[in-house]
Amino acid sequence: MRTEKYIARSSAIAARLLGGEMMIMSAVDSTFFTLNEVATAIWQAADGRTPLSEIVKTRVCQDFDVDLETASHDAEHFVGELSAHGILLVSDQPFGTAPVGANSV
């Protein structure tokens, strides 16, 4: 059985939309990312409670006309990259209501 994955934005980052692109900087190691439209949609939906699979279905496949398999693969890759820098936090359980911080990685 496949485990569900939940993603949450770290508080140890600075992020802002500029010129239609989401810019993110890790406050821990100063890594800088610019997200495309699809990645921005995933990022904005990363509330810690919505399963990644649902985000992919409702925010990526529907809005960007991408098939589920491709979207899931790309989303996994994106989440893996950002979580490696502590920018996204990943859990197999929904995150609680406590503030999400770098320490919860």
């Binding site: 140890a12 980052i13 600075a14 802002r16 500029l18 010129g19 239609g20 692109e21 810019m23 900087m25 890790s26 406050a27 821990v28 100063s30 800088f32 610019t34 770098a102």
Partner: protein
């Protein structure tokens, strides 16, 4: 019998004012103070009330390792270190010390760090860029090593005032930016002029067969800017502040790519472009 005299240690000090921020450097070694006096000539202001003070403790030179700069806040104090120096700075009490050998490079590095921290709190930054003033407007020329910072500085005509060929000083002032001269020289080995002017544009440099200007999309501009800002502190709050400052800068100051053929005509071209 009472001693009629007491031995007193001579203390020598200078105030180095960069970007309107005077930093007092104090040492017991008159000859080293003279070295600093020469290095920061043009940036000395004996009348300035210092914002920060540093006591320089000179030690014998030792083989400097390749240790990178480390800037950390520890117990309310900034701890600064590199292979050739150790320093500590209490930004609240505005005092600190530097332990180094009698060379001007260590204190130069400490000054860059202190200014980068002070600027970060106010929305400004130090930028890996040449900068110059013409007709009352300042221009920044940024890019990686070899992009042309030294070349464009060298090609500047006589009516251009060079602020620096290496490290530019950008201050934020209620919605606008000014560029200030710095003594932080690069390959040109020429100290910048100690003056300031409102910032008109930031150009990212590239050499090419002709002079041309191309727009830089805001997100690319922010990325390029962040890559060229000098910042050393491992401090999450200041990193966030710097991110916000860079994005605000990009929204307020024109950022373009300047491809230039390395001859004097580039400055005519900049003059024409800045009029439009």
């Amino acid at each position: 019998m009472h001693k009629l005299t007491t031995a007193t240690e001579s203390v020598h000090e200078i105030a180095v004012e960069i970007g309107g921020l005077p930093v007092l450097l104090r040492t017991g070694d008159a000859s080293f103070l003279n070295v600093l006096r020469i290095r920061y000539a043009g940036f000395l202001d004996s009348a300035a009330s210092p914002r920060f003070e540093f006591d320089i403790d000179l030690i014998d030179p030792s083989p400097a390792g390749e240790e990178d700069i480390q800037v950390r806040m520890q117990n309310g104090l900034w701890s600064l270190r590199r292979g050739d120096f150790r320093a500590q700075w209490d930004s609240e009490k505005r005092k600190g010390w530097i332990r180094q050998s009698a060379n001007p490079y260590s204190v130069d590095c400490v000054l860059r760090i202190v200014h980068s921290l002070a600027l970060a709190r106010e929305g400004g930054f130090l930028l890996h860029a040449a900068s110059a003033v013409r007709n009352g407007k300042a221009f920044l020329f940024s890019g990686v090593s070899g992009a042309g910072k030294t070349t464009i500085s060298r090609l500047a005509p006589t009516d251009v005032t060079l602020l620096t060929d290496e490290i530019s000083y950008v201050r934020h002032q209620t919605g606008s930016y000014i560029a200030c001269g710095t003594p932080f020289a690069g390959e040109l080995a020429r100290v910048g002029e100690n003056c300031a002017a409102p910032l008109a544009a930031l150009y990212f440099l590239a050499k090419g067969p002709e002079n041309r200007i191309d727009p830089v999309p805001p997100a690319d501009a922010a990325g390029l800017l962040l890559r060229n800002i000098l910042f050393f502190a491992e401090d999450p709050d200041l990193v966030k502040q710097l991110f916000r400052s860079a994005l605000e800068f990009v929204e307020r100051v024109p950022v373009q790519r300047l491809t230039f053929f390395p001859d004097a005509r580039v400055w005519d071209f900049i003059g024409q472009v800045s009029q439009t």
